[in-house]
């Protein structure tokens, strides 16, 4: 499992270590370079001192005369410094006592400073300088001519690197120890700061862990948390809000289903128990009618709930075909015209003819049936129902506006929720608040849309928007529909 703390610790530690190692290496190399320069400078100075002891006589012979110079650094038994003076042809004519009769190994090309294996097997540092041995004649010439003279000798002077390497080892060791201390400190500091920095995240995790289905009203307190975590707190609170609403909706739905089933079951049970307790043949027809109506009511409710469940699961299939909207509306209205007239409702229709929509014929009939029943049932006596069918842009719309009582714009979002009703009464068990939910489900299955709004405080308007059917397809469908009607009439 990925761990932010481990990731941060490893990354920061690697970065710090890399920087420290690089810095150490730079310091070490710089110090080594400076020490070598100083070491070589000291060798050069000493070489020049020895070179001063080399002379050329008038016959051109080179001679070495140390005089009373202090050559104690080159003495036998002292193994720190060595020199060897050679003629230009490579023949040796002077050696330090420490060298005895041995030669100092040196490169043939005259490399100025170089590392060397000394006689005792230690590593050493040597310098080779080619020079013109001074002579008596030189003292008679001017200095410029003497400087331009060809070298006739060279000196190789070496010294053990033991002290130099010891100093470099101490320096390297110190840098390594410093790097290790920095690494350990980095681990401790990173661990501490990461743990401290992630503290609010751990607390948030524990708080989230305590959230259950019955504590979705809980909200995370973002006061005092780091600004980087505030968006997480805000989003978590938003998520809880949405979850709480979804759970509440689900609980309400389940409760509503149970409640809506209780009433017809109570009706059926009371009907049966009373009929069995006091058998009355004269009441049997009414009892059977009641039982049948209860069965129809429950059947309708269960079918609607199944449709809603199928639509939610995305498996509600609708075979679409071109359907002429106005004639479907006329057919649906026939079942409600009588009740509307008995309630003195004023009904106005404005229907553009020959508007074909892509729809499922039975679903469309169900939608229109529910919308019209809703309007006729809930429009107060003497109120108005206005229906309009028209093409608007790339859609064909059916709008149904009716007078309403006790409805507010706040109610609009709930109109299509299953079992929602403004009046808590169950209208005598006739309606159960699923009609508009079914309309919405069918609309979604047919790629149509249903909306509700309130043009003013006493009217509510439902608008169904359909995808128009293609003209030639609609004609073909019309002929098929008419033929099937003719066939049906023949056999009816």
């Amino acid at each position: 499992m990925k761990s932010i703390r481990r990731h941060l610790t490893i990354t920061l530690l690697a970065a710090v270590l890399a920087l420290v190692v690089a810095a150490d290496a730079l310091v070490y190399l710089f110090a080594q370079s400076r020490l070598l320069v100083e070491f070589d400078r000291a060798l050069t100075a000493k070489a020049h001192m020895v070179m001063g002891m080399v002379g050329e006589d008038r016959a051109g012979h080179l001679e070495f005369d140390s005089g009373d110079a202090d050559l104690s650094d080159f003495g036998a038994g002292r193994t720190s410094d060595y020199f060897q003076v050679l003629r230009a042809d490579g023949s040796s004519f002077a050696r330090s006592p420490s060298l005895g009769s041995n030669d100092l190994q040196h490169p043939s090309q005259g490399q100025r400073a170089f590392d060397i294996h000394l006689l005792d097997g230690q590593m050493g540092r040597a310098i080779e300088i080619h020079f013109k041995a001074h002579s008596d004649e030189d003292e008679e010439k001017d200095s410029r001519t003497a400087a331009q003279a060809q070298p006739n000798a060279y000196i190789v002077l070496a010294r053990s690197r033991r002290d130099l390497d010891g100093t470099l080892r101490v320096l390297g060791g110190s840098l390594l120890v410093a790097a290790l201390i920095i690494a350990a400190g980095t681990i401790a500091a990173v661990t501490f700061s990461v743990r401290r920095g992630l503290g609010p995240l751990y607390r948030l995790g524990r708080e989230v862990d305590g959230i259950a289905a019955d504590t979705l009203a809980h909200r995370f307190d973002a006061r005092g948390v780091p600004s980087e975590l505030r968006p997480i707190y805000d989003r978590l609170n938003g998520l809880l809000e949405r979850l709480n609403k979804a759970f509440a909706r689900e609980r309400r739905f389940t409760s509503d289903v149970a409640h809506e089933l209780r009433t017809p079951v109570a009706e059926l049970r009371a009907l049966a128990e009373v009929a069995l307790k006091w058998p009355d043949p004269s009441a049997a027809p009414q009892n059977f009618r009641d039982a049948l109506n209860i069965a129809h009511h429950m059947d309708g409710m269960i079918s609607t709930l199944l449709s809603i469940a199928r639509q939610n699961a995305g498996v509600l299939a609708a075979q679409l075909e071109p359907v002429e909207l106005s004639s479907s509306l006329n057919q649906a209205w026939e079942a409600h015209a009588k009740l509307a007239a008995s309630r003195n409702l004023i009904v106005e229709w404005t229907m553009a003819p020959d508007l074909w929509v892509q729809a499922n014929r039975s679903m469309l009939a169900g939608m229109l049936e529910n919308l019209l029943a809703n309007a006729v049932t809930y429009t107060p006596a003497g109120g108005t129902i206005i229906g309009r069918v028209a093409r608007e842009g790339d859609r064909i719309r059916f709008s149904l506006t009716n007078t309403c009582e006790n409805l507010s714009p706040d109610d609009l979002p709930h109109l299509f929720e299953p079992f929602w009703r403004k009046d808590t009464a169950r209208t005598g068990g006739v309606n159960c608040g699923l009609g508009l939910s079914l309309v919405k489900v069918y609309a979604a299955a047919m790629n149509a849309a249903i909306d509700a709004d309130m043009p003013d405080s006493s009217h509510v308007c439902f608008t169904l928007s359909f995808v128009p059917a293609l003209a030639n397809t609609a004609r073909a469908s019309e002929n098929t529909w008419k033929n099937s009607q003719v066939t049906a009439d023949k056999y009816s």
Binding site: E267, R269, A425
Partner: protein
């Protein structure tokens, strides 16, 4: 006994109303809250069976308004609302009992009977007058060793008189508690029922347990005392 049933489901109105009438109660039925409140305020019911989800005025509002008007009629809430909160709200609003749909009709009947007894201050289930024994729970009547067969309406009349034993019960009280609105005001249905009841519970030649106070009403009691 007179019952008011306030229930918006017409099918439940029919079946429960029929059952209560068959059990010997006079039953008035209405389907909306406002009318139910009007009935409850204007009549002297023994028990009101009240649904909660009613059109026009919900059941809890009916109950509160009824109590505010000083009526202490026993109320049984009959509803599909089954949560603890609903039951607590119902009982705190002044209900005497709470029954959840769907229900067993016998249970509803038993609760209504219990509330009816309480409304008359009777706690014992057995009322004894001389050797007449009236079991208000099993709704059976015995005179000595003889079991009497009484139709529900006659039992309801005897039960009403028994709950007010020794007290004068007027004709109009009997009409309002035993018979519903369908009884003609000037009919002799009460006298006929008393006559029929006497024939069944009295011994031949012995004084009737139901005494008539002419122009006033009837008293059920032991004449030997």
């Amino acid at each position: 006994m007179r019952i008011l049933l306030v229930e918006d489901s017409e099918r439940l109105q029919r079946s429960v109303g029929t059952g209560l009438r068959k059990a010997g109660y006079a039953v008035d039925v209405t389907g909306d809250g406002e009318q139910g409140l009007w009935y409850a305020r204007g009549n002297d019911y023994d028990v009101i069976v009240l649904d909660l989800m009613l059109p026009r005025l919900d059941g809890l509002s009916v109950l509160r308004k009824l109590r505010e008007s000083g009526k202490d009629t026993h109320v049984l809430i009959l509803t599909a609302k089954d949560t603890v909160e609903d039951r607590v709200a119902g009982l705190r609003s002044g209900a005497d009992d709470y029954l959840i749909k769907p229900f067993a009709f016998d249970e509803l009947l038993a609760r209504v009977q219990a509330l009816a007894r309480r409304s008359h201050g009777v706690k014992r289930q057995l009322v004894e007058i001389a050797d007449l024994q009236i079991d208000l729970t099993t709704r059976t009547v015995r005179r000595g060793q003889r079991m009497l067969e009484l139709p529900p309406r006659e039992f309801a009349l005897l039960e009403y008189l028994a709950m007010r034993r020794g007290q004068l019960v007027t004709r109009s009280q009997i009409e309002s508690h035993i018979y519903d609105d369908q009884v003609e005001p000037m009919s002799n249905v009460v006298e006929a029922a008393i006559y029929s009841l006497r024939k069944k519970i009295d011994r031949a030649g012995a004084p009737s347990l139901i005494q008539t106070r002419r122009g006033m009403g009837y008293i059920l009691g032991d004449t030997a005392q």
